[in-house]
């Protein structure tokens, strides 16, 4: 028989090793919780980046997410995947941060890099090897434009596209995070792509 938490089998929750870690963490084992942090760090961090756009803020909010999870892990009944439960907490914290007055004040005061600048190094990677210099230039320019257009997408379309495009989350996970039906997630991704195509065609003078 598979291990369970409060009667929920591991098939419904998560794998056996993770269940053991969760049990230990529920008993106050910090090392076990540290393992859980290590397992889900990246998924939580990227989800928060999709919501906030700032890696500095995302780091802080991701930490808060795990702190809250540690405090609430006793109430985790295993009805959902532990990862989905974590992502839901992370998304809610990220939205709280996005709405917070303190965030706006901090962004006004600090002269740090903007959202676009911060992500510049991430996007402008070298084009495919073997491309001519002209091709490389065109590819870089197009990516720069796409990045700018993504940043200017409506908030809900942008965050859904980023979550889906990261490749880290299934549609049902995204739907659980955003509290919307899966169909809405798919529509948002499709609509975001359509908008990007149209705007990019205008920028490049094409009439697709």
């Amino acid at each position: 028989m598979q291990p369970s938490i409060n009667g929920v089998t591991s098939a419904e929750a998560t794998d056996a090793a993770e269940l053991a870690l969760i049990r230990r963490a529920q008993g106050g084992d910090r090392d076990a919780f540290g393992e859980l942090v290590e397992r889900h760090r990246r998924a939580v961090f990227r989800a928060v980046v999709a919501a906030l756009g700032s890696q500095m803020e995302a780091d802080d909010v991701a930490q808060e997410t795990f702190v809250i999870a540690f405090r609430k892990i006793g109430g985790f009944r295993g009805e959902a995947q532990f990862r989905t439960w974590l992502l839901t907490i992370a998304w809610r914290r990220a939205l709280d941060r996005r709405r917070s007055v303190a965030r706006w004040a901090r962004r006004l005061v600090t002269s740090g890099p903007s959202r676009d600048d911060e992500q510049q190094h991430v996007v402008d990677v070298a084009p495919a090897a073997g491309a001519s210099p002209e091709e490389q230039l065109l590819a870089v320019e197009r990516r720069r434009r796409i990045r700018q257009l993504v940043a200017r997408l409506p908030k809900k379309l942008r965050e859904t596209l980023l979550l889906a495009g990261s490749g880290d989350y299934a549609y049902d996970e995204i739907a659980a995070m955003l509290h919307v039906p899966i169909g809405t997630v798919k529509w948002r991704v499709s609509e975001a792509r359509r908008l990007l195509r149209v705007k990019l065609a205008v920028l490049e003078g094409r009439h697709d």
Binding site: V37, R41, R46, I68, R142, I146, V150, S166
Partner: protein, 181 residues
């Protein structure tokens, strides 16, 4: 020169994937574990309401002196007799036969001068510190109004005098023509 532009969707996917190809800074796990002993955030959330309450209190303290009662004048208050009943703020109309209700003016009938001013000011201070009971005014007599009886309107008959008789005008006949052309 490229033969065909790269499909847009592919570029979009690539850019979005690169935008999300991020990870937390080093030492993330250690920072999380270090924060587990922090006070719950919920406690810090009380800061804003508490700060607002403190601010409101400060505002009240600043504004309160304006509404405080004036300090009594110790040297002048000694001139007021404590047995004196509180004076009403308005003096009721005396009705015939009714005893006169003492008022501040009645207790200080002296003309305004050096001695009158302190007494009146002390009485005013006294009024502000006590509850003044004003006796009910006597019920007013019913007002009787005589019915209006207007005199009948008499319109004099206008008599127009007869017009002046115009005497008939006698026109003499024209003389016969004198033979001129």
């Amino acid at each position: 020169m490229t033969d065909e532009p790269r499909p847009v969707d592919e570029d979009i996917d690539r850019v979005v994937h690169q935008m999300m190809d991020v990870d937390a800074m080093r030492g993330f796990r250690g920072r999380v574990l270090a924060r587990l002993d922090d006070r719950p955030r919920a406690v810090r959330r009380w800061f804003a309401p508490v700060a607002a309450a403190v601010m409101a209190l400060v505002v009240l303290v600043v504004l309160l002196p304006r509404h405080r009662e004036p300090a009594p004048l110790p040297a002048l208050a000694t001139t007021v007799t404590s047995a004196e009943p509180p004076a009403p703020s308005t003096r009721p109309l005396p009705s015939p036969g009714a005893p006169e209700i003492p008022t501040a003016r009645a207790s200080a009938p002296q003309p305004l001068g050096r001695a009158a001013a302190p007494v009146v000011r002390a009485a005013v201070t006294d009024i502000s510190e006590r509850t003044v009971v004003i006796p009910a005014l006597p019920a007013p007599d019913p007002i009787a109004v005589a019915p209006i009886e207007p005199a009948p309107v008499t319109i004099p008959v206008l008599e127009t005098p007869p017009l002046i008789a115009v005497p008939p005008i006698d026109v003499p006949p024209l003389p016969p023509p004198s033979g001129r052309n």
